[in-house]
Chain length 94, copies 2
């Protein structure tokens, strides 16, 4: 598993996922859908990516709004794995 990224590397990765917010030790993006079922379809697609990558974001579902939070708990901060998964999640919707 990769180690946590230096500040400069985080800044560099952030350019690849501009829709995400960098907050302290994690990145977060809120996805909004037209209805609950569409939101749940997204949640299941994220879960599939997460299992494949063995890297599981937190997800907070509030009706058709899904907040996805990525951090590397074992390392106590952001690693390349977080951004790799974020890019794959972006590809689901963008």
């Amino acid at each position: 598993m990769p180690s946590t990224l230096a500040h400069d590397s985080v800044q560099s990765w952030m350019k690849k996922v501009p829709a995400w917010e960098h907050k302290q030790d994690h990145i977060e993006r809120v996805f909004e859908f037209d209805d609950y079922i569409s939101g749940m379809d997204f949640v299941n697609s994220v879960a599939e990516i997460a299992e494949g990558a063995n890297h599981h974001p937190d997800m907070n579902i509030s009706y058709a709004k899904v907040a996805v939070v990525l951090t590397t708990h074992d390392k106590g901060g952001l690693t390349e794995s977080d951004f790799e998964v974020a890019i794959r999640i972006d590809n689901l919707v963008d």
Copy 2:
């Protein structure tokens, strides 16, 4: 849609869902599973109940731990719908 419940009614309903915590305007229960896939199966079962009842709890997924939060947003508090859905969610696991 039913109106918010009086304090006594909430106390009475809480006896039917003792695993849930009553916090201000909502009730919450955290469900823990052996692995991520089992947690996601549960999330999808809750989503099916939610769609059927047209009453959608918030769900916070953190690996194999799923927190379910029920309140009736339109009414600004707890209604019978919250407890009816809570009982159906409990039936998935208990």
